[in-house]
Symmetry: D2
Subunit: 142 residues, 4 copies
């Protein structure tokens, strides 16, 4: 996997749990921060969130490889791996900034929905072109 975009996140106290490490559910928040940063960077954040098409998350998963602790700085790498007919698949990797240790990996699938008919909606052409231009040949598109 090669990523062209990353976000920096410092672990906050409430994100840790009694085991002394980041609570696993918080990684989905980190993925969210990565996704929004990625889309903002491409000028697609508004298009993804609002307007004629709604965007719903339909699936997400994460693998946890090593713990992260309070005040550590994480690098959240984000890319769009696939654009299907009406869905977009993001991929994430979270490393410890300090030594590059892999902390977690994950993905999420989002579906475009027509805000009136509430039916699946083709991913807009402008969205496709912008992502294709950024990701290049590693992007799978339908």
């Amino acid at each position: 996997m090669s990523f062209k975009f990353s976000s920096e996140i410092r672990v906050r106290l409430p994100e840790t749990d009694v085991l002394g490490v980041v609570y696993h559910g918080c990684f989905f928040t980190y993925f969210d921060v990565g996704r929004m940063d990625y889309l903002r960077n491409l000028g697609l954040l508004e298009e993804f969130r609002t307007g004629e098409s709604l965007n719903l998350i339909v699936h997400t998963a994460a693998d946890f490889r090593s713990p992260a602790r309070f005040d550590e700085v994480l690098l959240v790498y984000t890319r769009i791996r696939k654009i299907g007919d009406s869905s977009v698949t993001f991929e994430f990797r979270v490393d410890l900034k300090d030594d590059g240790r892999l902390v977690a990996k994950g993905d999420s699938v989002h579906s475009f929905i027509d805000s009136k008919t509430w039916k699946p909606h083709r991913v807009p052409e402008h969205f496709r072109k912008t992502v294709k231009k950024f990701e290049g040949s590693t992007l799978k598109m339908k």
Copy 2:
């Protein structure tokens, strides 16, 4: 302080932090659960949340007396202490259910706002009467 209403909450894992105790910010979520339970119990939840008047929190505070830990059961006591012209003041106490130890205390002040003019709005009569009937003489009302 005497309370006529309480909610039971079991501490969840993500609510603890690396210090092994409930993260202090989570008590504001517990107060919220208490407030919503209280209002639902009096049939006022919808009235408080929606309709012609919006309800905004303008102040909240908490004192922390002793720690709470993962899987412990808390009793969140809730009452309305005061109804002002356009504001409502809640009061909270959180005890450990097991031994009655005081864990935290707090309050919150909410303001009724007209959803069109966005100006302070008198607390509705029905809301006043229902709370007065429940709380009795300990309620301060203007």
Copy 3:
């Protein structure tokens, strides 16, 4: 899938987001509540969390089928589907209590680790027997 255990959870205000529905990351907290309730019910909560073996989450995933909203009551169904050599796989389903509508599904995989050597550790016999007795023939065990 057949589940023999469920937990009841009422959606809290901070669990919703600006889209008006439960933020997807909160379902991992709901799964956590289900898992802890399940283990407490079988008398395995302490064994799972502490002692000679640590328990680490290594994977989790969720599929989101329909939205849940503030104040709605959810039923979180929990079961252990598989016990491997050193891992345990939980399965979850979240329904709306009111009308039984499917809201989300998911799973999580946890690994037992020796707290001294930090190496994978066989799932203890007592844990295996207790789960087997509860789940019966639907449990896959190695």
Copy 4:
């Protein structure tokens, strides 16, 4: 109030609620980020968190003046207003970065505790000197 230190925080999706604005409880997380950044900046983060003295939060409060929304950038201003015998009082102000609008204000009081005897503990001299040097004459110290 004059502040010499600020942190920048972008509002995350899970920090908003169904009302479309940042959930009020999240401001205590923002205060926490401000506090940790402030202490790290003065080289006091480790001293504040660990070692011979524990640090417990005993009180916090917030006033909410105007809403903040998803993806808006906030400036969290932090200062230490007072150092008592065994306590430290932080003060916070949260502004919208874009137009300087006041969003929230708050404070928190933390008590130094001896980690063995569990009794109040004088705020260490090194901590006092470092904060005094940074804050100057606006700091009240006992």
